[in-house]
Amino acid sequence: MPLEDAFPPVRLAADDLACERGGRPIFHGLSFSLAGGEMLAVVGPNGAGKSSLLRVVAGLLSPSEGRVDLDTDGERETAMHLLAYGDGLRNVFTVKENLRLWSRLYGGAADDDAMHEALEEVGLGHAMHLAARALSTGQRRRAGLARLILSPRPIWLLDEPTSGLDKDGEAILGRMMAEHLASGGAILVATHLQLPVAPTHRLELQ
Amino acid sequence: MSHLPYIVAAYGATALVIGALIVWVSADTRAQKRRLQELEKAGPRRQARGTAA
């Protein structure tokens, strides 16, 4: 695993966030702050609003109250990665074609060697030329992890990253998360399962 | 009064459509109000600060 150069200092903070969907309040009065090298785990039962929180932080959902602050050296817009249920793999394309498009969009390496290496690291080296349709759910999640490797970004937003991964996949995820934290990246993860890496902070949603 | 049938048709249709609008709006208001009362009876736990629009 090439030693990634460390990320510039980064800080992600939320101030008195509240979120409402279709008139139904999801969560409110929620604040946190997260610096480089730290991981915040958002835990809680289903429907507690964990995913909504991640989508608000990712800018996909506008909060009804409060705001999300992100100060980083680079541009605000290209600071985050989102790994969620929708893995963005188009079945009609091969794994390589899918990854190449995401690398172009996320400003990562798009040459064959880099892609092969990233896929090797998540145990999908053999699947590079397979059509995405042929992949199992677990393999699709691993392809998502490869996307994160190919375009290094300081902040990872992970929504139930362990779901669909087998033991081996979880180990890969754990290694990647530890590596990301070590190089100064921050992680906001929503999960109700055990995480391969212990979080620095925990935030519980009822 | 020349062209009487045309005038009657035009004014009649206008009265019909505006009348239909009035009936539809008032019926709709009553129906939603009734539904709101039924729901409120069933679930008193509505939030104190009034619901969002």
């Binding site: 009065g29 929620l30 | 679930g43």
Partner: protein, 264 residues
Amino acid sequence: MGVVSSLANPTRFLSWSSRLLPIVSVLAALTLAVGVYWSLFVAPPDYQQGDSVRIMFIHVPAAYLAMFCYVVMAAAALGTLVWRHPLADVSARAAAPIGAAFTFLALFTGSVWGKPMWGAWWVWDARLTSVLVLFIMYLGLIALWRAFDDPSRGAKVAAILILVGFINIPVIKFSVDWWNTLHQPASIVRMDGPTIDPSMLWPLLVMIAGYTLTFIALHLAAMRAEIYRRRARTTEMLIAARPASTAVRPTEAAATGAPPHTAH
């Protein structure tokens, strides 16, 4: 913006609109009564069209309302997108069916009025054709609103379609007018003729006032219905769903979850 935002509260809107609605309705009914009597029995017949010109008194106000209503919806669309006014989508959604109904009336009365003159129920006159396109746009909007189950999501997307449509209306009008001159059959009699002499202008203005008051009354009533519909929907969701999540004090370290909130 103080006044507008203070009116923004749905509860306050319901209270002042319940007082205003009867007044506007009575005013509208009176104005229409006067206007219709004036149009049918007092105004002089046209030397060319005879009494069929009286249809103009209900055709022109309907066509004007069709356009006026779309302008109201465009303002509401800005309210939804720019000022995030809570009642903006309620107003736009309530106005659309009324606008569609008056656009239909404009088309119907226009073709009935045209029959004696042109001998055909429908003639591709420039104005009638533009109103027809406007009618399709109204129906498209209503279909788009109904396609969303959650009203708050449909609101913003519909607002965009309203504004895109609004920008295109002059373009469509210009194209249809130009298209109409291209295929100009010689015998078309212009709809509104030369300048209207006062004996016809006054009843027309009264009718336009009556139609506008009718629109305001219908629009207020439809907005009230929409607010009740949304309240019923929100109450239904609240009963079905669990109470709102609150962020409790985290178990360890520095994340400052807000202190436990009761559902305020």
